[in-house]
């Protein structure tokens, strides 16, 4: 889905403007821990814009399209960032198409270039707003179950914890799902940062006097009877109102539904992404979660991936040459299950807490439709 067919005919590197969008994106993400993927993508595109000397609308749009395609191609899970790039593209389209604004392309460009930093601040403000809004969900005596290292969830819980110092003392507890086993076994920096974020939230809450229990993923069902609500973050909120989130969220959703506990999603509205997955394997990304292996010549070999059929391209080559996908170049590798995502269908979600209120999952499509049509 994510990569349009046109990207195949484009050169692999944006040599046209000697601007490395992927490196910029990575640098931005690394430089600011508070930056979300969609916003980093927008930032990167703005920087690309500033490096280009494009003067016409269509030149700019082509350039951006090209950079976007590059970016999507080189990031293994482009769902979240595509929310940002899509938003940016639609914004440009609608702005230049707006009656009266046609002659003013330069102004739009200048606005984007000069205000790049402001976008980030706005998203941070949105996060605070979500936190102040979502705080009301956390009441006296509630026990919140959460997972992952979502910054919004962290902000929400912190906001609730801070409120407990004041007049409105909220006594709540948190059960935090951390999976230390996978992260310690993995050498990946990224995975440990993700876990680190979760751990940071845990220690932040504990230092504020909120009792936090950390449990492994296998203990979710066991802990549910104590839980009053589940609050999770999301990488992307898809058109059906479902969410794409860290692996394990789906099962938490199913268990919560089975136990009759509400599941609330906390996400900024720029994470709404135009995607309509019909199931787990319909996300348009390749994940190495399920791999069927046999031992052949004393060596483990992947014979089939989770999609059931040997894939064209990468996996076909892999089968032929007997090498793992790790050898594939130019692509950031998916770190097994640590970075994998799953899709939580909308019927498991009680509400999506955004900066503008609590939405039902069905409200998401309307917002997306409005910017696309």
């Amino acid at each position: 889905m994510a990569t349009p067919t046109s990207s195949q005919i484009l050169p692999p590197k944006p040599s046209s403007s000697d601007f490395d969008i992927v490196a910029t994106y990575r640098r931005l993400l690394a430089s600011d821990p508070d930056l979300t993927m969609p916003i980093a993508a927008i930032e990167a595109l703005v920087e690309a814009l500033s490096h280009s000397s494009a003067t016409t609308i269509s030149e700019t749009l082509t350039l951006l399209e090209h950079h976007t395609a590059n970016l999507k191609r080189s990031i293994s899970n482009p769902i979240s960032l595509s929310a940002g790039t899509d938003l940016f593209r639609r914004y440009l389209y609608t702005t230049v198409q707006k009656p009266g604004a046609t002659g003013d392309f330069q102004a739009i460009r200048n606005h984007l270039l000069s205000n790049g930093r402001q976008f980030v601040e706005r998203t941070k403000a949105a996060r605070d707003q979500i936190a102040s809004f979502g705080r009301h969900f956390v009441r006296d005596g509630t026990t919140v179950l959460t997972n992952g290292g979502s910054r919004v969830v962290g902000a929400l819980l912190r906001s609730a914890a801070d409120a407990s110092g004041g007049r409105t003392s909220i006594r709540f507890r948190v059960i935090y799902v951390l999976s230390p086993s996978t992260s310690s076994s993995s050498s990946s920096d990224k995975a440990s940062t993700l876990e680190g974020e979760g751990a940071a939230i845990v220690s932040m809450l504990r230092s504020r006097g909120v009792p936090v229990a950390t449990i492994p993923e296998s203990a979710v069902a066991y802990s549910l009877p104590q839980v009053s609500m589940v609050i999770v973050g999301a990488e992307g909120v898809v058109e059906s109102g479902g969410i794409i989130s860290r692996l394990g969220t789906y099962q938490m959703g199913m268990l919560a539904r089975a136990a009759g506990k509400p599941l609330y999603v906390v996400a900024e509205s720029h994470k709404f992404v135009r995607l309509y997955p019909l199931g787990q394997y319909d996300l348009g990304i390749e994940q190495k979660v399920i791999e069927f292996k046999v031992i052949e010549n004393g060596k483990e070999e992947v014979v089939e991936t989770e999609r059931g059929t040997p894939l064209v391209g990468g996996s076909a080559r892999m089968l032929d040459e007997g090498v793992g996908m790790e050898d594939e170049v130019g692509k950031e590798e998916m770190e097994g299950v640590d970075e994998a995502v799953d899709f939580t269908p909308p019927e498991l979600i009680s509400g999506i807490i955004t900066e503008s209120g609590v939405l039902t999952p069905s409200a998401v499509s309307e917002e997306l439709i409005k910017i696309w049509f």
């Binding site: 706005r122 720029h270 209120g357």
Partner: protein, 481 residues
């Protein structure tokens, strides 16, 4: 308390009577005390009383700016809500009126400065007939709340109520305000909420100017100033007040007509020879059933709603009206169901489970509907809805729009009101009174997924769609006021 007692029992009628002579302030005090003493209770009387009181308050307001009027209404509303927080309809009406003021002020501002291109579609123009498809993009939750949606959020209230009054006599349901209309016009690309982060703060875009400096955080400040400027420029005191009063009168009309409008949809939902389960007593449901009874024969099972509503239910089944309530309800005198040719069976609440397999449709009335699609109804409703779900029986909830509250139920337990335990165990039963704690919750919280369809005076809506109706009727600024 500053309540001069009239000869009749204090209640809605006496309040409305005294409102004619009283200045605003004592009237507010009177309503507060009536609410506190539960002498005005239930959604409709509360709504009527609040509307009439606010009409008075606006009428006697001396200032000239919308800002001040907003503050005044908000202040009065706050006092009323504090008096009886669980009558959520009071808050709804106050919010509707606040929305009216905002809208009128915005219209004036638009008329004067003509800055907003799509603002040209003023509600006045809208009022000529049922012009749903021509309406400017309807605000959805996000966008209505987003400050940059300035122009597009405009025609929320007035055209709505106007359409309502227009569409009473329509044989078929009026066109649904579907999401399609929201982008049909597509004139406001800038207003799209998801673009919030790109919001221009320094480009000379006309539709954005009023909000120039603010991000998404403080929407109230610029808009309020905007209103003030606009109204001052148009010298709009009389204008503003007159238009707001007109709007409130329309709101009052809506309260009067809501039941009839809901009944207008009845033929679509009840068919010949069906068995309908209703619960407790409600004039809305009564009208709904009587409308169908003119054409079709069917059976109604009435669960009596013991202990709080049993007596009223029996009265209604026997005589077509409740005995105990205010005499204003005299206008709600109906033929009893059986006199209209409906076979009526009264059962006690404990028999609901036994009868449920035979029921075709459950029809419930509400006390309040909440933003997430859940509802509060007379206690026992939750049992019925749960059983209906288990039997795959459709549950239709009749709720006028004014009962729809933008309040999100963060904690459903605090919404439940507890009533007189004497209804459960008689106070003369000394042993029980001494040894047991007797509880009598008046309402049930029914979660959204137990409801099949909400039938409001503007049509039938799935519970998941209610967020939209909320966004159409209330400004975000007014949700917490």
């Amino acid at each position: 308390m500053s309540t001069p007692t009239t000869s009749i029992t204090p209640g809605l009628t006496s309040f409305l009577k005294s409102l004619k002579t009283k200045p605003a302030e004592p009237a507010i005090e009177l309503l507060i005390s009536l609410l506190k003493r539960r002498q005005i209770r239930n959604s409709r009387p509360c709504a009527i009383a609040t509307t009439e009181l606010l009409l008075r308050v606006v009428g006697q307001y001396n200032g000239s700016d919308a800002d001040g009027l907003l503050r005044r209404v908000r202040e009065v509303g706050q006092r009323l809500i504090n008096a009886q927080p669980r009558e959520m309809v009071v808050g709804n009406i106050v919010r509707r009126v606040l929305g009216l003021v905002r809208e009128v002020a915005k219209d004036n501002a638009d008329d004067v400065s003509n800055t907003t291109p799509s603002g040209a579609l003023s509600p006045q123009q809208e009022q000529d007939g049922l012009s749903h498809p021509q309406r400017p993009p309807l605000p959805s939750t996000i966008s209505a709340f987003s400050p940059l949606k300035h122009g597009a959020t405009q025609p929320v209230d007035i055209p709505m109520s106007e359409n309502l009054s227009d569409s009473i006599e329509l044989p078929s349901r009026p066109q649904l305000i579907s999401s399609a209309t929201s982008y049909a016009q597509g004139t406001m690309p800038m207003g799209n909420s998801l673009f919030g982060i790109f919001q221009q703060s320094d480009t000379p875009s006309p539709s954005m100017t009023p909000l120039a400096t603010t991000g998404t955080i403080t929407p109230r400040v610029p808009t309020a100033q905007d209103f003030t400027v606009g109204t001052n420029r148009s010298g709009g005191k009389i204008n503003l007040k007159a238009e707001v009063i007109e709007g409130i009168n329309e709101l009052a009309d809506e309260l009067q007509q809501a039941d009839d409008q809901i009944a207008g949809f009845a033929m679509d939902h009840i068919h010949a020879n069906e068995m309908i389960l209703i619960h407790s007593v409600s004039t809305t449901v009564q009208k709904f059933l009587l409308t169908v009874a003119r054409k079709r024969k069917f059976t109604v099972i009435v669960a009596e709603g013991s202990p709080n509503d049993a007596e009223e239910t029996h009265d209604t089944v026997l005589n077509g009206r409740r005995k105990v309530t205010d005499e204003l309800e005299g206008e709600d005198r109906f033929k009893p169901l059986h006199a209209a040719g409906i076979e009526t069976v009264v059962i006690s609440d404990s028999q609901i489970s036994a009868i449920m397999p035979r029921i075709n449709t459950v029809i419930l009335a509400t006390h309040a509907v909440l933003a997430n699609g859940a509802l509060l109804a007379a206690s026992g409703a939750s049992i019925i809805a749960t059983l209906a779900k288990a039997h795959r029986t459709p549950v239709y909830v009749l709720s006028p729009v004014y009962k729809l509250s933008p309040v999100y139920p963060f904690n459903d337990e605090e919404l439940i009101e507890y009533g007189d335990p004497g209804n459960v165990v008689d106070f003369s039963d000394g042993y029980a009174v001494e040894h047991f704690e007797v509880m009598n919750p008046l309402y049930d919280y029914v979660p959204a997924d137990l409801v099949t369809l909400y039938i409001t005076n503007i049509g039938g809506h799935a519970p998941t769609y209610l967020y939209r109706i909320v966004a159409d009727h209330y400004y975000k600024e007014d949700v917490q006021f």
